[in-house]
Symmetry: C2
Subunit: 213 residues, 2 copies
DNA sequence: TCTATATGTATACCAGGTGCAGAAATCTCC
DNA sequence: GGAGATTTCTGCACCTGGTATACATATAGA
């Protein structure tokens, strides 16, 4: 694709990766609040000022890896097969995530992922930072609904916040259970049932809830 | 009720109020980020250390006044008339809020409220702090649904996050429009229509959306 | 190789927030 | 009303996240 990224560009990527890795390693070892950005900078052999040139805030050292997921739902809606309802595409995608143990569904118990999840859930400032992703996901999804499903402005926004909130809730529930010790494979069946229930609720409304799980 | 709150208690309340008022006044005048907590402490004739004994963080100087609303939806569900669906009670309550221009619906354009709203919306750290209220509201509402409507655990949590997200979205939309210059009285009709639409969406699901606004 | 420019560094600085030791106020009981 | 226990307030030093400034270094492009 790209013939040569250029030395400068390559160095930037390496520095970025080096800082990120040093940060994650230290955070997982000693805890997010127990490690200062100065220590991370030192471990990455970079000045504090440079660190902040790559990551706008300490929290971003952790959550930048999840930045892609911000527009994931929107992309799924845009890329759905013709004549498929957005919600159907989103459900299928979420179920696929569960099957594949995508960390974004909370259903991944690889030790590294698990420790990271726990750390995020236990650190208020990281949780807060994640909430901002939620807001971004809502906006992106609303726009996708407007543009590809011809959904009116208000409906699109309301649908988006509901969908994102529900997906988030499902993932958080899974993550908490798995972080608490339940193996992902054991949780899988329940997670699927819960997801089906949740999407049914979204489709048919709260007045006629589907049969209990 | 309470014979005597005691001098100590009264003084504490006065100090609390003094700090809060000094803070709001200064923030409204110069902006949240332009005023340091040291300045607030000085204006309230209190040491910085004492200020932090009353308010755990700078943001709380602003948002503590909205703390009551955290459990508002839960209270509405608990206090609903017999044989009334939770969602019905919540819709009526929200519509009442609109009629009464309750600031929590975003439909209040008194200059003071307006300025405060604008300040919160324009200050990321304050928005983030508000999100934490949302999480608290979700938990409280889920519990109320479980206890008074016999809703199963998962359904309650999912319903709660949907409801809170939708109410929040409605309020934010109103607040933004009003902050942008639209008079509350002018916005009222539209706000009611939007709210009806939103609650209908919650009741009947996204698959069969009600007619457009 | 030389130069413009992008990137990194060192240092000092600001603001939010906490720990600590002691002063001051309040409460309690006589 | 006063003495001692207890709570609250204060001043100070300190830590950390984040930024500004001014200077050094490395890369790109000719």
């Amino acid at each position: 694709m790209d013939g040569k990224p250029g030395l400068r560009e390559r160095k930037k990527q390496r520095t970025h990766a080096a800082i990120s890795e040093a940060a994650i390693t230290l955070f997982l070892e000693h805890g997010f609040n127990q490690v200062s950005v100065a220590q991370v900078a030192e471990a990455a052999e970079v000045s504090k000022r440079t660190l902040f040139a790559y990551f706008p805030a300490k929290e971003d050292l952790v959550v930048h890896r999840l930045a892609d997921h911000e527009t994931e739902s929107a992309r799924v809606v845009r890329a759905r097969p013709p004549r498929t309802a957005p919600l159907t595409a989103l459900r299928e995608h979420f179920l696929k995530g569960l099957r594949e143990r995508d960390p974004v569904t909370g259903l991944n118990d690889h030790p590294q992922i698990l420790k990271l999840t726990r750390m995020i859930l236990d650190t208020p400032s990281l949780v807060a930072r994640m909430e901002r992703f939620k807001a971004g996901a809502e906006r992106a999804l609303a726009q996708a609904l407007r543009e590809t499903a011809d959904t009116p402005e208000l409906t699109a926004r309301l649908a988006a916040v509901q969908i994102v909130a529900v997906q988030w809730s499902l993932a958080q529930d899974n993550a908490e259970r798995v972080a608490y010790g339940e193996p992902a494979d054991e949780r899988y069946t329940g997670a699927v049932a819960d997801a089906e229930h949740a999407f049914a609720l979204l489709e048919h409304g709260l007045r006629h809830p589907p049969p209990r799980t």
